[in-house]
């Protein structure tokens, strides 16, 4: 009787554990089975590299290149603005911050990670967008401040907690011996941190950046609220124009799309492209982490700590 319960519950736990596997399979199957046929119907080339998106025209066109570029632009902008601040802040948190200040700001960054996208979006809409319009509006004959720049700035802010937390953890993980070695040679605290600790934590910091990229490329609501969302081929220097990303393309048009139409399929296909982007980023992250583990193993061995 007891033996039976043991076996039964073991199977229950195993089944529960398979839920995540099942979920991934279902997500892949349903997205791909509905998205891929549409891609082939439109033509892989025309879909991925087509520069016109006119789903409701008499002769509809389904090119998502503008959206792919849009996603890349706003993400790049977010990285440009958010990553330096994020990494320097992480260095500060790990090695410079006085303990009393740390106790205050560490929880603050954790809270920052919890603020919902819509709140960021609303803030962007009410503060960043008008600010950009005030600064550049008259000079560049802008219609509104809903621009690539607004989205980049907002995303740069939104990825801060991710970058800071991951990078801080990894900078902290650098063995203290390295720091002591540098200081023992007469290096100042700042020099030891920047020239020894930060390089040693390089792959961990890279992992933080990659995770920030994932966060930025997948963000939907906040971008939707500030980016302007015009479908148009943009160049990087046209950051004062509106832009549409992969994510916003889905959220905007899913509301009115005719179910089962080729337009519907094209939106799911947009999701597939986004999903593949994210998978690549995940793969990159895993690879970096793997590399990091190997490296720290070697470092430990060099310090004579053999693991059993």
């Amino acid at each position: 009787m007891l033996k039976l319960t043991e076996k039964f519950m073991r199977i229950i736990f195993l089944i529960a554990a398979m839920a995540s596997v099942l979920a991934v399979i279902f997500i892949c199957v349903f997205l791909f089975s509905q998205g891929l046929p549409t891609i082939f119907r439109i033509g892989v080339f025309e879909f991925l590299l087509g520069d016109r998106w006119a789903p409701t025209a008499a002769e509809p066109l389904f090119g998502i290149l503008p959206m792919i570029l849009g996603s890349l632009y706003v993400t790049a902008g977010a990285i440009l603005l958010g990553v330096p601040i994020g990494i320097f802040t992480a260095v500060f948190m790990a090695r410079m911050c006085p303990p009393w200040l740390y106790r205050l700001i560490k929880p603050a960054f954790n809270l920052m990670a919890g603020i919902p996208s819509v709140v960021y979006g609303f803030f962007g809409l009410m503060v960043i967008v008008p600010l950009i319009f005030d600064w550049y509006g008259s000079r560049f004959d802008m219609m509104s401040g809903n621009t690539m720049l607004a989205a980049s700035v907002l995303l740069g802010i939104m990825i801060l907690p991710t970058v800071i937390n991951i990078a801080e953890t990894n900078i902290r993980a650098v063995p203290q011996e390295l720091y002591e070695g540098a200081v023992a040679l007469g290096a100042s605290h700042e020099r030891a941190v920047f020239k020894v600790i930060l390089p040693a934590a390089k792959s961990g910091v890279m992992a933080a950046v990659v995770l920030g990229v994932g966060r930025a490329i997948g963000e939907t609501m906040a971008v939707r609220m500030v980016a302007g969302n015009q479908v148009a081929m943009r160049m990087p220097h046209e950051f004062l124009y509106g832009v549409r990303t992969l994510t916003t393309n889905i959220i905007i048009e899913m509301g009115y799309v005719e179910h089962g139409s080729i337009h519907y399929g094209a939106l799911i296909a947009t999701g597939v492209v986004l999903f593949v982007f994210i998978l690549i980023i995940n793969l990159l992250f895993t690879a970096i982490n793997h590399d990091k583990k190997e490296k720290s193993k070697r470092q430990k061995q060099n310090h004579g700590e053999t693991s059993v």
Binding site: S20, L31, I105
Partner: protein, 284 residues
């Protein structure tokens, strides 16, 4: 204090000064941005918080957040009901039963990481295709909460795993040495000891649910009404904020509603870290 600063100033080389300033200004800027966001929303929103905001009926003149609040609570409860057993049980399997490094564990870990990385819009898309359309549930609370349950599964799994792992093996050994089986050891010793840590994770998941929008837009619909059955449509607080702020007609209401959302989410996050802190202290 000032003397120290002067001493410091004399001692540092220019390059060190630069590094010093870079880190301090970056950190202060990051904090300033955060404070500005929160402060801005609070200052703009608090004056517009009125009792009518919580009126039980929603009208065109008075966009009460009451129906959205109730829907949010219902969604939280239903999503947890699905995700917590699955999340906690799979963590139990991974920590207490499976051989570490076995193929099945690696597979589960990989898929969990994939789910954790998927953007919420993709969940929304999947929820719409699968739950709402393929299973024929339509846009409904049920479709919404299943979508969210998948989304928060990795979070609950990870926090439960970490809590279980932080329970010293000596507890398990003590239980086994008295002739208790695996199940009894897990159920009576390990799980109760890990409960506060798991609880902290669940609270964090609640924060995610309350703040979510993109995954819900096409899965629970966007209708303002009190939920009356599993298949009714609804609108959560976060979706309500989105609607109010993008229509541009009710800016004051939008500010006030955002304040409520922000305060609720921040409080939930604070609660989670407080519970976690106490848990870790107790273990020590």
């Amino acid at each position: 204090m000032i003397k120290n600063l002067i001493k410091l100033a004399k001692r540092k080389k220019p390059a060190d000064w630069l590094r010093f300033l870079l880190t301090w200004t970056s950190a202060l800027a990051a904090i300033a941005i955060l404070l500005y966001i929160v402060g801005f929303i609070l200052v703009k929103g608090i004056p517009h918080i009125e009792l009518s905001l919580f009126s039980t009926t929603y009208t065109v003149e008075n966009q009460s957040l009451f129906p959205a609040l109730v829907t949010t609570l219902v969604m939280v409860a239903m999503t947890l009901l699905i995700a917590v057993p699955f999340g906690v049980f799979s963590a139990i399997y991974l920590v207490e039963y499976a051989n570490r490094g076995s193929k099945i564990v690696r597979l589960i870990r990989m898929t969990t990481e994939i789910i954790a990385g998927i953007p919420s819009i993709v969940f929304g898309l999947f929820g719409y295709i699968f739950f709402a359309t393929w299973l024929g549930w339509g846009k409904s609370l049920l479709a919404g909460c299943f979508t969210l349950a998948i989304m928060i599964l990795p979070l609950i799994m990870r926090t439960t795993e970490e809590s279980l792992k932080s329970i010293p093996d000596s507890y398990r050994e003590g239980s086994f040495s008295l002739g208790a089986g695996k199940l009894r050891t897990v159920w009576r010793i390990t799980l109760p000891s890990a409960a506060p840590g798991i609880f902290a994770g669940i609270i964090l998941a609640v924060g995610r649910i309350v703040g979510e929008t993109a995954a819900l837009m096409f899965t629970i619909g966007n209708v303002i009404q009190l939920p009356n059955n599993l298949f009714s449509q609804g609108r959560t607080l976060a979706l309500h904020v989105y609607q109010l702020s993008t229509t541009g007609l009710y800016v004051d209401k939008a500010y006030a509603t955002t304040v409520i959302l922000l305060v609720v989410v921040l409080f939930i996050n604070y609660l989670s870290s407080a519970v976690e802190r106490r848990f870790l202290q107790k273990l020590r």
